[in-house]
């Protein structure tokens, strides 16, 4: 028998009148405000965001800051080091590297964002249908299982190999690359969306809403979508650099955008032959900018992920 007495040394009742239980320890914030506050506190993520803004700014306005176009060739200005006239130097055909580098940024960012947006739309569609139909009678389960078999098979196919194969047979160009990148790229997003929906469907507030007769559309927009958007945005900050990397990789092996269009990958490939002759600017500018963009997306994505993680409260 456990003895209950007030002079127990280990457990003593607390005088609760000393605490104001209704007092708010921290201000009540909406999820968005809290996320923004957390990101602002993360210096590396802020640096990433600033870098992205700067790179985008120069991608839009950079090519117009000089009087040369990315494709202007000139025999008299070949292989010049950076100077006040050519800020990033010139290449073997006398083309201005500043104009080419920022034009390349434009191409790379366009491809990255476009491929990621197509991935997002397809992934939301397939993952959404699959997750929604699962557990909705025999037909629903069948739809889910067929879609998931397709996703499973596509997931097993090596991504870059398919892209290379498609680029071999299609007309080279900007949209071909975007199409090739998104043909298998949406699979990852579809899996994430389906997983999220399956998880959210089990939540009490969703079944409560269902039992109260809330229409499907309202459940989707009020409960499912707002709860998924964080993980979707985080995923976007990782698929965009992945597409940019893939584009420069493909351009590097000669399957990307075709001359005279500049891209960071083709410029790095052009610079391979002259790396030993001391023309450092040929590799440095495109190489540095690819790396900087990757860095910026990675640290910003990491910061966003931490900020949206509800378990990581500080």
């Amino acid at each position: 028998m456990i003895e209950r007495s007030n002079d127990n040394v280990l457990f003593r009742p607390i005088d609760r009148s000393r605490f104001n239980q209704e007092e708010l320890v921290r201000p009540s914030l909406s999820q968005w405000k809290e996320t923004v506050l957390k990101i602002v506190k993360n210096k590396l993520a802020v640096l990433g965001l600033i870098l992205l803004v700067v790179i985008t700014f120069f991608a839009i306005f950079g090519p117009h800051m000089v009087s040369y176009s990315y494709s202007d060739q000139s025999l008299t200005t070949r292989n010049l080091p950076p100077s006040s006239d050519h800020w990033f130097g010139t290449d073997a055909l006398g083309r201005d590297m500043w104009a080419r580098t920022w034009y390349g940024a434009r191409i790379s960012l366009t491809i990255g964002v476009a491929a990621a947006v197509i991935d997002l739309i397809l992934g939301l569609l397939v993952g959404g249908i699959s997750g929604y139909m699962a557990g909705r009678g025999k037909i629903g389960d069948r739809v889910d299982s067929i879609l998931m078999r397709i996703v499973e098979i596509l997931y097993g196919i090596p991504y870059l190999l398919v892209v290379i194969l498609l680029l071999v047979v299609m007309e080279p160009g900007l949209w071909t690359i975007i199409l090739a990148l998104s043909i298998t790229g949406w699979v990852g997003m579809a899996r994430i969306v389906r997983g999220q929906i399956l998880q959210l469907k089990e939540q009490e507030y969703v079944s409560a809403a269902q039992k109260l007769g809330t229409p499907h559309r309202k459940i989707i927009w009020r409960h499912l979508f707002p709860n998924m958007i964080g993980i979707i945005i985080v995923n976007l900050t990782f698929t965009i650099p992945q597409a940019i990397f893939a584009e420069s990789f493909l351009s590097f092996i000669g399957l990307g955008v075709q001359a005279p269009i500049a891209s960071w990958g083709t410029m790095a490939n052009d610079a391979l032959g002259v790396i030993l002759t001391g023309q450092w600017w040929r590799l440095f500018f495109p190489g540095f900018l690819i790396s900087l963009t990757m860095f910026a997306f990675n640290v910003f994505g990491d910061g966003l992920q931490d900020a949206l993680d509800p378990q990581a409260k500080d």
């Binding site: 870059l160 190999l161 420069s248 790396i275 590799l283 690819i290």
Partner: protein, 308 residues
């Protein structure tokens, strides 16, 4: 039961890839001898088409290709008179495999060490330095890193040969260039996995029992933290494999990656088809083995079809 089901999914995936690549390759208008049509007599062209089965209707060609594939015959190359696709792969595979495995070992060993050290030093200087190294390693593509390595380690300081293949010294720079990004990814992955494990109750119990720190870290920490990292070896292998395309090109290494890129430029379709199927099969088998071993290593995961 799961293994059998998984095995069939693997076979279906390989079949889908074969069919897809076949359809894609044959959707191109014209045939590979179109440019020779003016110079060569019609009989010769007929013979050449017959040699590559191009005179048959497409479904028959497809079935013939599948039949040969089952017997592991990937067919002849169009560019090379003497070497068929099988010989090309047999010639290139040793170099590529050595490069890939060496990079995988470098990435795993150093990535794991870096991740563990960083996690044990959480929020210390070593942690920040390793993570700074990791994020820079992820950001620099191998095709930018490789020329830099050549410039400094081979040309300026003369420590390693510039390019080509032969002795073990030739393999050092390409392996480093290939391994850096995977190493960084493994380090980050291991760090977060290790941090999570070291927060578990059984670690605190072990600590409370008075076990030595080294014992806890190795027996309870690292062993459990490794499990999610195993599942990462599959994507890592894919990363390394596609990485060999550019690395073999930059260092002029006679591996399959280089043959593959060359065949793209020569529009040598049987070689593209054959190497794609070869690469995909290797990757899919790797994914399969990783998946199975992952489930065997971690008894908490049941070998059921409803995996995730």
């Amino acid at each position: 039961m799961y293994i059998i089901k998984r095995f069939f999914t693997m076979l279906v995936t390989i079949w889908v890839i074969t069919t897809l690549t076949f359809i894609i390759m044959h959707s191109i208008p014209g045939d590979p001898f179109a440019s020779d049509a003016d110079v060569l007599p019609e009989e010769v062209l007929e013979n050449m088409r017959a040699k590559y089965n191009l005179d048959e209707p497409l479904p028959v060609q497809y079935l013939l290709y599948l039949k040969n594939l089952v017997m592991l015959d990937l067919g002849p190359s169009i560019q090379s008179e003497t070497r068929d696709v099988n010989t090309l792969i047999a010639d290139g595979f040793p170099a590529s495999a050595l490069l890939g495995i060496q990079s995988l070992v470098i990435a795993l060993i150093f990535g794991l060490i870096l991740g563990i050290v960083a996690a044990l030093n959480h929020n210390g200087i070593i942690d920040y330095l390793s993570m700074a190294f990791a994020i820079i390693g992820i950001s620099i593509p191998s095709f930018i890193l490789a020329p830099l390595l050549i410039k400094y380690f081979a040309v300026d300081w003369g420590l390693f040969p510039v390019a080509s293949w032969g002795t073990w010294l030739h393999t050092v720079l390409p392996s480093l260039a290939l391994a850096t990004a995977p190493l960084a990814i493994v380090a980050r992955f291991m760090r977060s996995s290790m941090l999570e494990v070291m927060n578990q109750n059984y670690i605190k119990t072990a600590d409370a029992k008075g076990l030595s720190t080294t014992g806890i870290v190795i027996k309870h920490g690292v062993r459990n933290a490794l499990i999610p990292v195993i599942s990462f070896i599959g994507p890592l292998a894919a990363f390394l494999l596609t990485g060999t395309f550019v690395i073999e090109k930059i260092f002029a290494i006679p591996g399959i990656g280089k043959y593959f890129v060359d065949s793209i430029f020569n529009r040598d379709f049987p070689v593209i088809l054959g190497t794609t199927i070869f690469f995909s099969t290797i990757l899919i088998i790797t994914l399969f083995l990783v998946d199975i071993s992952y489930r065997i290593v971690d008894p908490r995961i049941k070998l059921t079809s409803k995996g995730d």
